[in-house]
């Protein structure tokens, strides 16, 4: 990334990364107190397949999907959470099984999964992510890439108890 763009998504992403390190959680307890849960995005659940397997990589890789999972309210990072990822890529359409995979968050609540390059489908280059393990309320996200040329995409979850 060569251009730094200040928008809500970036600020949220940067904020999420900082919080995920667990450092600022100590610095900003009062502000983190009211952290609102992420709402599902419209169209986020499209072509969802239940129970995609946890994989080291989807297909041949080359593209990185990353993000964080935190708890609503105090913003604490959630470790070991299963995040499901799918998209229309160079190796398959959105609904096809080989386009789906899942990964787990690390102790900082961060996840990162390599997958094939996402390409525009239905007019926008976008990915899909789901938290659907039941402990917290299910959330479906549908982040859009700023350019189809990008080789990574981020999405962040703030979950509330089911």
């Amino acid at each position: 990334m060569t251009i730094v763009v200040l928008n809500r998504r970036n600020l949220l992403a940067a904020g999420g990364a900082v919080l995920a390190t667990g450092v600022s959680g100590l610095l900003l307890p009062a502000r983190a107190e009211g952290l609102a849960a992420t709402a599902s995005m419209s169209g986020g659940a499209n072509n969802y397949r239940k129970g995609a397997p946890v994989v080291d990589r989807i297909g041949k890789g080359g593209f990185w999907m990353s993000g964080t999972v935190r708890r609503a309210g105090d913003g604490a990072p959630l470790a070991g959470q299963r995040v499901q990822i799918w998209a229309h890529t160079t190796e398959g359409q959105e609904h096809e099984p080989q386009s789906h995979g899942a990964t787990l968050t690390d102790k900082n609540g961060a996840f990162r999964l390599e997958m094939p390059q996402i390409i525009p489908i239905f007019g926008q280059p976008h990915g899909h992510l789901a938290y659907d393990s039941g402990e917290f309320k299910t959330v479906f996200l549908r982040p859009v890439m700023r350019s189809a040329k990008e080789t990574s995409l981020e999405a962040h979850f703030v979950l509330q108890p089911a």
Binding site: M41, S42, G43, G44, A45, N46, N47, H88, T89, T90, Q93, E94, H95, I119, P120, I121, F122, G123, Q124, P125, R142, A148
Partner: protein, 203 residues
Amino acid sequence: MRLARVALIWAALATAVCVPIAAAAASPLLAWRGPVYILAGFAGIIALGLMLLQPLLIAGYVPGLPAYRGRRAHQWIGGTLVVAVVIHVGGLWITSPPDMIDALTFTSPTPFSPFGVIAMWAIFAVALLAVLRRRLGLRPRTWRIAHMLLAIVIVAGSVVHGMLIEGTMETVSKAALCALVLAAAMKVMVDLRVWRKRAALRG
């Protein structure tokens, strides 16, 4: 001299419609799309191209097709537009049913979808009115004004729809075609003075 002008106009029209189609046919995205999705996309692109011809035909501006023959061609192309839109929507439905359902119910996250869906309904409405207008006893002026209002919705909706989509169409040729579609529709509406009591003479 006249022949040269006729040839030039036909060449310009053919270029305006065919270059965007050819550019889209060269899109690298096609490699990762199934045949139904590709067909659906091109039905949309062709429909946009035909939309450029519609006002020019009805105004009798296409050389070799004077107003009475232009009107016949306009009607046939109108029917073709309906078919193209049905293929576009049907093909996208087969490709990804949930995305198409979101679009048709105006719940899609993509900003271009409602413009396309509204234009689709306007195309269906104008075709239905054209078929039924005698049976309904629509007065010519009522029909002209209804058609013009729907045409404004169709043209504006389709152009916004197309411009916001990141798909197989190449950006410059797409923008040029959209600008021509807008310009042709506006010019003909002004020239024909559709809102007058009697339509302006065509030819």
